[in-house]
């Protein structure tokens, strides 16, 4: 059984570690915040200028001056801090953020990622995605294994314009988890979602990959 959006977010939350500063992308990555284990100290960064993001506000707490990078209203928590966009991207570019969890349109077996532009369609812009993939220590992609036409999004080479080259460390899909081995050594299949077989992953993956020792259907 392929993972649901919530199950994908729950699996991605296993990437969190105590003490981490984390930037979550828009979409499924945002849901990861709902699965931070109790007692684990994880600080969420919002690239528009905030560390320590709180939950969505109650109706009477909404503040136009307090939004996340998806432009949704949010709240502050006791450890929150605010800063400018240049300070925010100094944190990101300077390698101070431990983990970024992002969505993607395509990921290649060398860790290339494409998630901002489809030629011929209206381009909205890359926002902070290029800075995040270039600057954050560890980039984990969470996405559906295939696009809406059923084509693999895990590829030998990306076909869309890139967001970054060789930057992705791990790919979590609704079917499985791949590690991107360093120095262009390709992908390794390290987990299968419940009920998913090696054969199913093989039939739905365009990229080449090795299978971790001990991984069975």
């Amino acid at each position: 059984m392929a993972r649901t959006r919530e199950q994908l977010a729950e699996r991605a939350a296993l990437e969190l570690q105590d003490g981490f500063y984390v930037n979550l992308g828009i979409g499924i990555p945002t849901l990861v915040a709902n699965y931070i284990p109790d007692g684990m100290e994880v600080t969420l960064q919002s690239e528009n200028g905030m560390l320590g993001m709180g939950p969505f506000p109650y109706d009477d707490e909404v503040d136009a001056d307090l939004i996340n990078a998806g432009k949704q209203t949010i709240t502050e928590i006791p450890e929150s801090s605010y800063f400018s966009s240049s300070d925010s991207f100094a944190m990101i570019r300077g390698g101070h953020i431990n983990l970024s969890i992002l969505g993607a349109m395509e990921v290649a077996e060398n860790g290339d990622i494409a998630n901002w532009m489809i030629p011929g369609k209206l381009v909205k812009g890359m926002g902070g995605a290029m800075d995040l993939v270039a600057g954050v220590k560890r980039v984990v992609v969470v996405m559906d294994h295939a696009n809406k036409h059923g084509q693999s999004k895990v590829l030998k080479d990306c076909t869309l314009p890139l967001t970054g080259t060789g930057v992705v460390s791990r790919i979590i899909t609704d079917l499985c988890v791949f590690d991107v081995k360093p120095e262009g050594k390709g992908l390794e299949l390290i987990e299968l979602a419940d009920g998913v077989t090696l054969e199913e992953v093989a039939s739905k993956t365009e990229a080449g990959y090795t299978v971790a020792a001990g991984l069975k259907s």
């Binding site: 109650y58 001056d65 800063f83 400018s84 902070g128 890139l162 080259t165």
Partner: protein
Amino acid sequence: MRKIFPDANAALAGLTFDGMTVMSGGFGLCGIPEKLIAGLRDSGVKGITVISNNAGVDGFGLGQLLETKQIAKMISSYVGENKEFERQYLAGELQLEFNPQGTLAERIRAGGAGIPAFFTATGVGTLVAEGKEVREFDGRDYVMETGLVADLAIVKAWKADERGNLVFRKTARNFNPMMATAGKVTVVEVEEIVPVGSIDPDHIHTPGIYVDRIVQTVSEKRIEQRTIRQRETA
């Protein structure tokens, strides 16, 4: 008190000319200089290059200057929320330069700090790096990006004192502090002007040296994505 102007139009008087470059603060609609944008519209200035992270929404924020076709070019990181922008861009009426958000922020910071260019790993190997110098430092490739300055920066802050020392509020800070440093002239729209000495000098975010003109306004502060949670009923 010579920095304080009675309204947005007065604060912009004599500063606008066709073909000028304007930096405009804000992220989405959060922390935008609403009344100064309306003042630019009223000035009738044309052919503006606008440097701003986003392009407002239809009829509000920078969207107002799109409707009147006063903008010739945008330098932004994300412009998804605006139908009129889309129409003008697809019709070839509007030029657009995308910058990664952090590169945009740093270009403005660098411009204001007198740094003509810098190297960043952001965008290496992508369309953003095309035609730009790439240089290796310690085994990693970096692309050269140039600093940005503007003829005019319009900025939103929460409070100013009479000498232009500024305090921003929450995530409405965003691009505003850097833009204040990178305008040949910087005009700031604030919610409150307080007497000198009433802001603790340790709590000032932007020193008044960067601020030329100040106007106190009442802003609408429109919310793009009002997202709330429900209280559990007892």
